[in-house]
Symmetry: C2
Subunit: 343 residues, 2 copies
């Protein structure tokens, strides 16, 4: 099967100037892939006009007259932008014309539109956002939810654990991913009631490899493969991570450019620093999944560059190949049955 | 006035082997300081026996027959360890024999004991934990609460804002610190109700320089001087920060020790890397304050080494000199009056 992926070509900070080159780049790398560029055809057509026939066979343009702005509230995107590139890309997934879609548009609008058009899977109340983050073992830790939900109930945290487990099995080829619930480290006052109650729901389910509570630093220790948390908490953890990494990178640059001597040392260390930068390059971790929908929707960082956007497309390809939504739906049904038997 | 500070000499991962050398070190640096070592006198006396008279004049030992273990629940510390070094150190603050105390003992027990013995200031429902963190501007951002409270109400977040503002004014000599409320970045669904309601309480109070919502990365950008959040969220942000920093430091070391060539580059870059390490050294940020009590209690990291513990003592000295609790009490009264006038 050839994956067909719809790209919202107009959204994000850079729109077509990033999405189109990223599309052409990944088409040259992935010979078994078809892409649909969704957006203003008068803008998009000239950008692919000079491509050879072998590329043009695998790329098409679907016109959309509108665009969801980065500051459009979800309600406006839903009501007033029914012909936006974002909406049409999601429609293509719903109609079976595409197996997945990728958008760098604003998260709130993307989540609301995807949920409205595609609907959630049976047994899932709310979709969640999951992203991989690097850990000390050189592997990845998947964290959800990252902001689609706030004040998540124990039942929702349970659903996140199921979805996170299945996605990680699929995309990392891990048969039995370890699941941790994000909590705080003080004894007795350990955690809030919702986290404790979520643990009680998750623990008895044999299909989830639940290892217990974890703390913020465990994300980067590789203690578990999936960290489950409320979206408010997950969003703060993600943004904090970005902040610390940027600060350290800023101080590293500053240190090596202070004077002639430090610049020389920097020059000598350049291959090492570059390698290090590559290992921790946030672009490699671009592509958050909107999980729990009847279709695959990948959110790229709004400020993604070309390389970064190709990683988001790659995430979509993997999820298409593994058929993540149907795996979630299938396993969730049997998990809920197991839970019913326990109760 | 000579600050007199009681040190819980038995708690923490290392007990007297860290606390006593740290005490001697800071006494040699701060000529206007008196310390009381609280703990088992048979252990402590030999450790200071060979000190010259000019040191012995400024250090004394107060016997305590018990010790709060790192895994003791707060209830056990309170009920069964009334002669612990932690409890006696706090008692000394209550009785006016010491102006502040410092402990590396477990946070839950320390908070519960301090709250029980010292009581909260008028107008403060719950104490909070605040710590400085480095930011990109080379300054510090103070973050509270870090885990003393979970599910903080808008009123509690308001009190944190007041306490954080006053502490930062005092210890950083900042006349008008900028206060931000930690939130998540998605529009329309922006934040939970508690954060939004807290903003409504803080905004009209002219004595608080409230600048609005901030996100996790703002802690390290230096956007504001004080970040106010619920203790669950703050604890996750703090632990996440530690985790990212450790991972990056691990990869830096790994990169520079891969082979002979990288080791050579590492040797050349050593002064730069050392300088960088110093700038971001978590030991420099040791010493979290338990704010909102009728007395000064400083919590050192449990695993603190000698240098690190001296920073916690320094924090105590500054807060004694600035008389932080009475400033909080004083300003809170006038703030609450101002709020009442508005309502």
């Amino acid at each position: 099967m050839t994956p067909r992926i719809a790209l919202d070509a107009m959204s994000g900070d850079h729109g077509p100037s990033v999405v189109v080159p990223a599309a052409l780049k990944i088409l040259s790398e992935e010979k078994n892939l078809e892409l649909i560029l969704v957006g203003d055809e008068t803008v998009l057509e000239p950008l692919v006009a000079d491509q050879p026939a072998r590329v043009m066979q695998r790329i098409s343009i679907r016109h959309a007259s509108q665009k969801v702005e980065m500051d459009d509230p979800p309600s406006r995107a839903l009501r007033n932008k029914r012909d936006s590139s974002m909406r049409i890309a999601i429609n293509l997934v719903k109609d079976g014309e595409a197996n997945a879609c990728v958008s760098a548009g604003n998260t709130g609008a993307l989540m609301a539109t995807a949920r409205y058009v595609l609907k959630t899977l049976p047994g899932i109340d709310r979709p969640a956002i999951i992203t991989p983050l690097p850990n000390m073992l050189g592997k990845t830790t998947h964290v959800l939810d990252l902001g689609a939900n706030i004040d998540s109930s124990p039942e929702h945290l349970f659903q996140f654990a199921v979805m996170g487990s299945i996605l990680t099995q699929a995309v990392e080829n891990l048969p039995n991913p370890r699941i941790g619930l994000l909590n705080i480290g003080e004894e007795e006052i350990k955690g809030n009631e919702r986290v404790k109650d979520a643990a009680k729901l998750i623990m008895p389910v044999s299909a989830i490899n639940y290892v217990g509570f974890v703390e913020g630093d465990d994300i980067f220790k590789g203690t578990v493969d999936v960290v489950v948390c409320d979206g408010f908490v997950g969003n703060v953890a993600l943004k904090t991570t970005e902040g610390v990494a940027k600060m350290i990178s800023h101080f590293v640059k500053e240190s090596f450019t202070q004077n002639l001597l430090t610049r020389l040392a920097g020059l000598i260390s350049l291959p090492i620093l570059k390698n290090l930068g590559k290992k921790l390059d946030p672009r490699r971790y671009n592509g958050a999944s909107l999980l729990g929908l009847r279709g695959i929707v990948i959110k790229s960082h709004g400020s993604a560059d070309i390389l970064s956007f190709t990683y988001a497309i790659r995430e979509a390809i993997i999820e298409v190949e593994k058929n993540v939504p149907s795996q979630i739906s299938h396993q969730l049904t049997s998990l809920l049955n197991e839970r019913r038997r326990i109760e």
